[in-house]
């Protein structure tokens, strides 16, 4: 998988446009940082699984936008051979976290290789902005902002 393939696939999985995931200029390099996790040997990603996810994505990535979610649903999400890896890409973007592929991500089974990718990956996690908030421990608000109703990001 290339970085470009990773970003376009990530857009389909997260529901965010490529321009959000990889803005120009890309000062934070979050896409590249997260993409590196797919090539990290210690993450123990079965090569066949990553290859299949890449191939499947390339086979559907040109689908017209209105039909793309259905294609992703059928070819990736419902494909048990690769859905878990696709889920991890969602977690990378929403949390900045990599979950051990060999276990249920909600379990604390130990030892495991769950880890936060980097402080920047954490503070750029999409889940916080999605709910109109900020990463816990990383607010850019002014005193008293919490008394006001936030604007949630538009979902297209």
């Amino acid at each position: 998988m290339t970085l470009d393939e990773f970003v376009s696939l990530s857009a389909a999985l997260t529901g965010y446009p490529v321009s959000t995931l990889q803005p120009v200029p890309d000062t934070q390099q979050i896409a590249a940082t997260l993409f590196a996790e797919l090539n990290l040997a210690s993450n123990n990603i079965p090569a066949a699984q990553l290859d299949e996810l890449t191939q499947v994505w390339n086979s559907i990535s040109a689908t017209p936008p209105p039909d793309l979610p259905a294609a992703v649903q059928e070819k990736i999400i419902e494909n048990l051979a690769i859905t878990r890896l696709a889920q991890n890409i969602i977690y990378l973007w929403f949390f900045g976290t990599w979950y051990d592929l060999s276990k249920n991500p909600n379990s604390f089974t130990s030892p495991n290789i769950d880890h936060v990718v980097s402080p920047l990956a954490y503070t750029n996690g999409l889940v916080w902005g999605e709910m109109g908030a900020h990463p816990m421990g990383y607010s850019v608000g002014q005193y008293g902002y919490w008394a006001n109703v936030p604007t949630l990001p538009q979902i297209n």
């Binding site: 389909a12 999985l13 997260t14 529901g15 965010y16 979610p69 992703v72 649903q73 999400i77 419902e78 048990l80 859905t83 878990r84 696709a86 889920q87 969602i90 977690y91 929403f94 949390f95 976290t97 249920n104 991500p105 909600n106 769950d114 880890h115 936060v116 980097s118 402080p119 954490y122 503070t123 889940v127 916080w128 999605e130 709910m131 109109g132 908030a133 900020h134 816990m136 421990g137 990383y138 607010s139 850019v140 608000g141 002014q142 005193y143 008293g144 902002y145 919490w146 008394a147 109703v149 936030p150 949630l152 990001p153 979902i155 297209n156």
Partner: protein, 639 residues
């Protein structure tokens, strides 16, 4: 470092909350003060450049560790120190042979459960510093480093109620404090100034709390969140068990908008305003929230204070003729996992034990080379009466968005439930409103997003099944997380010398060879009735507000117990109290009302351990007031 040759007016054990306040007060009165801190130094708070103290910490490093932690617990920014270890919430588990599904009350006289393998101190401490004997695990934790547990306190700075001081007189429960609200009122003023508390006087005048003429808090009340206002509107005029459910702002040690004080000046402590990082616990990224390093910095600026870090007090020595303390023996180390590098003795005119409630009691009991029962222990009460505000959590989804994960962790609460005639029968509580969604009970946002993306089969076994993604996931996150909220009940606990206590372990030691705390802990009927009432109050409040009630098994479920066939999951509040209580006589308490040992004229023991009952307020503000009271008594006794 060897300070054996120096003589100080006061030697303080502990560079945390009470120790910093005491050091500042005493040094400001030109007393020479030595502070022994067991943990590592904080950058910028060092007086003795010493090649033996290589390890320091600072906020930026702590933030980095917090960001990188998978489980963002109160301990997550702060690495374990095997030479001055501390407990961690992840280690709180049901105590064998009991399990989460099989909580059993330990019968009286039964042998203690399962021995703990602690032959290798580091490996054993990694599984939990406390030797938990139960039957309920003690759920609260603390920090041992410069600044102590103030690094991860919430900031709540409520005063005690007048009736909290006289539980025996008014409700025939436990004991009275040897002081009254009136005795502490001026010290509360001083404590609120030192901490920098933001609150509104009119709103805090409840249950008989009074303020001096013209008093204003240093800063105006912190603005309420959307959740606070939603609950306030929905609960207006409602009562539970005869108590008002009115929502009020919680006094907080966080910087807000300065008030013009009685003396005409605007309050200014030089630190930033709260930015609402929603992270008071485990760490405020910008020090808008007060912590004890603020006061220790001022203490050091007097030039009258020396602080030695990585100095673990191990023995309090007595002059057996006068029965006064004549030295504190301490051990030093170079690194957090390295060996002991020396044993020294600090000497002064007066001595203050201002370690954490559990560590202070441990030190007093460990110091048994001259008196077998330990120091200051004629009453036998040292280490006894261990108490907390065990917490009941209720959580659910509001019918409309309330936008959690914004603002300080908690800005409002319900205080009407803190006092009433029911205290003759059951524990009272205050209700804290949380601004962090289901983060505490439910591991939010992680666990719920995972449930959306990688849902488990209904029986929770096997591998995750097909979840949602893309637009549907985003919609689901917006819908769910903007409506999440939780409330927490801080439940009163009575002193129970027989069932709740800490002793130094005879078999388990830390890396320096210092005994680890062995803890016996349980809830009595009074407190369990408080839990029952808390659950009923949750149902009532949620019904009133139209909340979808999701209260169930919280992620931290080690504090499970069963009462009248119902399981409850107690959480620690971090309010560790009672282990060196003050009182009226030498027979039933460790210190007098000035926190001076009944047994040793030049020894003071100061901290939340001084509190005879838990009261109904988070104890930190009261601890500060008590520290200032003790400082005044010490100064009077020296002059």
């Amino acid at each position: 470092m060897d300070n054996s040759t120096k003589q100080y007016d006061v030697v303080i054990v502990g560079g945390g909350w009470a120790g910093s306040a005491l050091a500042y007060r005493l040094a400001s009165a030109n007393k020479r003060v030595l502070v022994l801190e067991a943990g590592i130094a904080i950058d910028g708070l060092i007086t003795n450049p010493d090649e033996n103290q290589l390890v320091t910490g600072n906020r930026a490093e702590f933030m980095n560790d917090f960001f990188m932690a998978m489980a963002k617990t109160p301990e997550s920014p702060y690495v374990q120190n095997y030479n001055a270890p501390r407990p961690a919430v992840l280690d709180i588990q049901p105590i064998p042979p009991f399990t989460q599904d099989n909580p059993v009350q330990l019968p009286a006289g039964a042998p203690p459960p399962a021995t703990i393998d602690c032959a290798d101190p580091k490996a054993s401490i990694d599984k939990g510093y406390f030797i938990q004997r139960g039957p309920v695990p003690f759920g609260s934790t603390y920090e041992r480093r410069g600044g102590g547990t103030s690094w991860h306190w919430l900031g709540t700075s409520l005063r005690m109620l007048p009736n909290d001081f006289k539980l025996k007189t008014v409700y025939n429960q436990a004991v009275d404090w040897p002081i009254s609200y009136e005795d502490l009122s001026d010290y509360y003023d001083q404590a609120e100034f030192e901490i920098g508390v933001s609150a509104d006087v009119d709103e805090q005048q409840i249950h008989g709390i009074t303020f001096s003429e013209g008093y204003v808090y240093p800063m105006a009340k912190i603005p309420a969140t959307i959740l606070d206002n939603t609950m306030d509107a929905g609960l207006a005029g409602k009562t539970f068990d005869g108590s008002s459910l009115k929502v009020t702002g919680t006094p907080a040690g966080r910087n807000g908008v300065p008030n013009q004080m009685k003396n005409g000046e605007f309050y200014d402590n030089g630190r930033r305003q709260c930015q609402g990082n929603t992270n008071c616990t485990p760490i405020c990224p910008i020090q808008a929230k007060y912590d004890a390093t603020v006061t220790m910095a001022k203490a050091l600026m007097t030039g009258n204070v020396e602080i030695i870090y990585q100095a673990v007090a191990t023995n309090i020595m007595l002059d057996m003729t006068t029965m006064e303390v004549n030295g504190v023996v301490y051990k030093t180390y170079e690194t957090t996992g390295g060996p002991c590098t020396g044993t020294f003795t600090a000497t002064g005119t007066k001595y203050i034990i201002a370690a954490h409630a559990i560590e202070a009691a441990k030190l007093l009991l460990m110091s048994n080379t001259q008196i077998p029962a330990g120091i200051a222990n004629y009453s036998g009460q040292v280490g006894k009466n261990l108490m907390d505000h065990p917490m009941y959590l209720g959580w659910g989804l509001m019918p409309k968005p309330v936008y959690p994960f914004r603002g300080p962790l908690s800005t409002s609460g319900i205080e009407g439930t803190r006092d009433g005639t029911f205290r003759s029968e059951r524990a009272s509580f205050r209700i804290e409103i949380g601004n962090e969604g289901w983060n505490w009970p439910g591991g939010a946002p992680y666990n719920q997003v995972i449930d959306m993306v990688s849902p488990m089969p209904p029986d929770q076994s096997g591998t995750p099944t097909v979840g949602i993604f893309g637009t549907a996931l985003r919609q689901s996150i917006q819908s769910n997380f903007t409506r999440q909220f939780r409330i927490g009940f801080l439940i009163e606990q009575l002193p129970d010398a027989d069932n709740c206590y800490i002793v130094p372990s005879k078999t388990c030691f830390d890396n320096l060879g210092v005994p680890r705390p062995e803890i016996y802990y349980d809830f009595d009927v009074y407190t369990m009735e408080g839990f029952k009432a808390a659950a009923a109050a949750t149902d009532f409040i949620f019904d009133t507000l139209g909340v979808e009630n999701n209260t169930g098994v919280p992620v931290g479920n080690g504090g499970v117990f069963e009462y009248e066939g119902v399981k409850y999951y107690a959480q620690g509040a971090g309010h560790v109290m009672g282990t060196h209580r003050m009182g009226f006589t030498r027979d039933d308490s460790v210190t007098d009302a000035n926190m001076k040992s009944w047994d040793h004229d030049n020894l003071y023991i100061v901290g939340c351990g001084s509190m005879p009952t838990t009261a109904t307020s988070n104890p930190t503000l009261t601890m500060t007031a008590l520290a200032f009271k003790a400082a005044d008594a010490i100064l009077q006794s020296i002059d």
